[in-house]
Symmetry: D2
């Protein structure tokens, strides 16, 4: 088993997809063990640390990477299987912002109303018990919520020589902020540049649908990813696969366009996998498809379109990359 | 037990919320047994029955009612508990349309491209087995999907002397098309006119999130509703409650506004039920809230914001109307 | 010349399109002299009259009418030519609102931020000089702006037995709030019910593009309209014609859909009037069309698509109704 | 007078804002004479040259530059005055596209309908007569339209180390496609990186509001720009000034957000220039502001908010940069 361990120093973190040289080269079939900082760069450690004071734009939402996958060329697809995502600290933080989140004016949904108050919450993480604990700021109310670790941000270098802030989700991936991106899931990303140049970050101990206040339970993570390269197969928008489901994503504004992209891709993909006529696939997805919301707060919004594989008779997907990576991941965990 | 049975003749069906006299008066605390036609008025019975030929605008999406609830006045809330929703036939139908659905141009998302093909699918319903069977139109592919009956349309007469097509969801309810509206669920609707004037229709044997092609598995239903009136309590947008969850809805365009309305209402409602500061409630909903998509095809789009009641310590909701109606419904079913 | 004078008492005003009986019957070819109250029902007379205190929902944006046009049937088109629009008082008012306008959260763009302040401005109208005078509320700044009277609201009863608040613009017309609706303009409205049932209101002494704060320079008006009926010609969305231009409107959300509707209608109309292939018409409109913004604050937003008639070789439009009504209006003014 | 002439070779053209070294260094106060290719890179020369065949993604919409302005630092503002914009050829072209334009499905407004037909139009340019001639493709119809040269694309390197395709408009400028960007206009752009790194391209012989089909009358241009640097003054979104008007721009989706940004900036700017309270400025802009549509087809949509300077008592704007550059431009033209 080819295992590569990488822990970035603060100055190694990246704030864009594209426009940065690789931090390492990875052979397809490898396991990558790494660490990701939280979206605040670890600078918000208590309810007194207001992001507007301790963080500096644009040094937000750092990602670890990019990693160059040997042999990856435009038109190929990277398969990144998340073997494990484990909180690196026993606490996490979240915040509201004056101009960020779905229920406040922002720099683009520009308003003349007074801004929202900036406020920080600190959560306790109990990995053994599998819970995070919420504490209200203005009363004694406290409650345990299920721990459900995920990565908000995963992506590759964009096409067309672009470099995009890590906070933006688009066809290259990025800050999709979907709770579906858990351990056990394989993410498929179309390669736009030599080496693909993938990076990951923005761990969440858990997140609601839409990340309505603008941040999740933000946590540093120790994460293990198994990497494959699928040659000669392109992928228009990031796709996810777990043991039971296929998922397409779309990131755009307005939110209905994110929905359209994700559903269109799932319909098209279904048609390709099964040989169904596109209208037959449209009908089938209409009745059995789910649409878990990713984010409704970032510079693009993200929707996921999700289908049980059993509906399609368990078709062969990306040359069975998920099954292979799942097995590799289990072997890794057993041997660790 | 006060049980009222009502089966509409075709000429009794209604195509608007508002603008119509009541078909019957109901005392609070009653059970209503009734029948709803499918969204095509039962006129599409085979794949050869194109809606554009057998249906006539605006005679689409008929609802049964409206029912006058005695004592209901503006500022009150109706609680409608869906005791049972059972397919009235062993088949159902669905269709694509030239100018309706999320992945085609419409009369408002106006396009110069050729329209989508109109095509009909007929499903078999096996109530005993709890499945509906999909048959592809252009291949032999067929698959069983779980039966999951629901009502796409429920609402009251709108405020401000409006009458709205039943296809439109808004603050009065209407065609929300959320799969969350199953048997076992209580719907809360704010009363705008004397008697409230509720009506229901548009049964679906099942539906995907967003109803992407524009129609679900459309079915006539035998439905039983238990009715309560909550005096002096207003409800800004339709809310739902089941044994485990609270849900707020929002219906608007663009889709992010439907999301905003539903999340804003759930945050506000959470704050009221628990005494949490609104920002504390915002933070909590952000981390534990779900956002099941209703429809992304109707004249307004619908989103649902959903929270486990356990998170809030099982607060007292609408004077425990759901628990009471749930018990009444179970008694009715046991005695039937 | 058939001249009909009608001045409504306050209790005669209407707050919906549809759902109301006609106040009078008009023969095609007639002139209607009438009076319209301002959007506040005349209740805001000074900067101390906050709308939230002196007005009562839903008694806002009253319209005068509806008028039954003899012989009008579904599928016909009403041509309403605005002969003159004259301020009925030497003052007008405007306001900001806590939850209305483009730069504040609203009931659908729901926000948790504090609402916008409610504030009233009173303008002086000098009809002889052709100006309105703005006075700042919080400084001595004052400036004269050109008087440019228009009607924000004109429409007919909607299709499908709907009744809509007068504040909503849609395919039936309504509160489009376009400054293009001046004296000298003919409005074409598709007839949905017997008699058409047109009504007008919401006079503005002038208005910026988009009515960004939610209200214009709101004024009561003495208005004269010349009416024709065009039999057997349908009109999908309200259209306008002046001596130099053809205009199509679209009202929807998001704003790009209002743009799409208006441009699609102008392209289609251009193709019909000239025999141009639709793609040739699309290209031509792309290069010479204007797109004056109507409103970006109402329950639907309104865009106008505008083309110089000279570009099309002055085609015959609606059987030359505008030219005929223009001449009738001039004769009326000369004889008055 | 410091005049710098620069004519790019094809390999010198740039396809991003950001991510590219400067082609030249310019001292503030200089005149730049240059050449810009059309959006097709000059490869579409007849109606037989379909862009999908002769052009290659992402080599579309080339810009000339970037130019490093000496002394420019983040927080400063560049003032670019367009002295003259003259078509470099006696023809221009336009096209419809299968997945681009406001009235067709696109990669983000994803549809299952058949795509729009790709078709090219070639226009004659008669600079002396001041007209462009349209020729229908599918009939003999032809008409002269006023020549009104402008640049669709002008911008600087974005903030946050981003590189963006030239087709995207955003806070850094880019492909705003507003017909207001004519000769005689000064554009103000906030500086994000050392030297500012401005570039220009995408000349249009003329354009309608919204560029509805996706392209204007696309033309190579000989363009002269006068450049100033305003130290220590930042500019949040591109602004324009001509002899009579101030203009703010906003680029976003949905279109109402582009409107909100532009109006919010104009209100804020008005308040700063005049000392008016923000609500007083909001009211004034609401009644006298225009909102010319830029584009409703690009990856972000663009709106312009426009105000007559006379309304504000001709305030001092950007240290009178426009007046100074206007005078410099006139001197240059007189001496040429």
């Amino acid at each position: 088993m080819n295992v590569f361990s990488y822990r970035p120093a603060p100055e190694d973190l990246s704030y864009t997809f594209g426009g940065r040289p690789a931090v390492a080269r990875i052979a397809p079939g490898s396991i990558v063990e790494t660490y990701t900082e939280d979206c605040f760069g670890g600078l918000v450690t208590s309810v007194g640390d207001l992001p507007s004071r301790v963080c500096e734009f644009p040094y937000l939402n750092p990602v670890t990477g990019p990693f160059h996958v040997e042999g990856a060329e435009p038109g190929d697809t990277l398969a990144l299987h998340f073997v494990s995502i484990e909180p690196a600290r026993d606490w996490a933080v979240s915040a509201t912002f004056p101009h960020f989140g779905a229920l406040t004016g922002t720099h683009t949904t520009a308003m003349l109303t007074p801004p929202l108050e900036e406020l920080v919450w600190r959560y306790d993480i109990d990995t053994a018990a599998g819970v995070v604990r919420y504490h209200a700021r203005r009363s004694d109310f406290t409650v345990e919520l299920p721990l459900d670790p995920m990565h908000g941000t995963v992506g590759v270098a964009p096409a067309a020589s672009e470099a995009r802030m890590t906070i933006t989700p688009d066809a290259h991936g990025g800050n999709m902020d979907t709770p579906e991106l858990r351990a056990g899931v394989t993410v498929y990303l179309g390669v736009n540049v030599e080496g693909g140049l993938f990076a990951i970050g923005d761990g969440h101990a858990r997140q609601g649908h839409g990340e309505v206040c603008g941040t999740a339970v933000e946590a540093a993570m120790n994460t293990v990813v198994a990497v494959e390269l699928i040659k000669g197969v392109s992928t228009p928008w990031p796709r996810l696969e777990d043991d039971g489901h296929l998922m397409s994503t779309g990131s755009a504004r307005p939110l209905e366009d994110a929905y359209r992209i994700s559903q269109h891709d799932l319909v098209t993909w279904t048609s390709e996998l099964t040989g169904l006529d596109p209208l037959d696939a449209y009908q089938l997805v209409s009745q059995i498809g789910e649409a878990p919301v990713g984010n409704v707060c970032d510079t693009n919004y993200t929707m996921v379109a999700k289908l049980p594989k059993s509906t399609l008779g368990r078709p062969d997907v990306y040359e069975s990359a998920h099954d292979r990576l799942r097995a590799l991941g289990r072997r890794y965990l057993a041997e660790r």
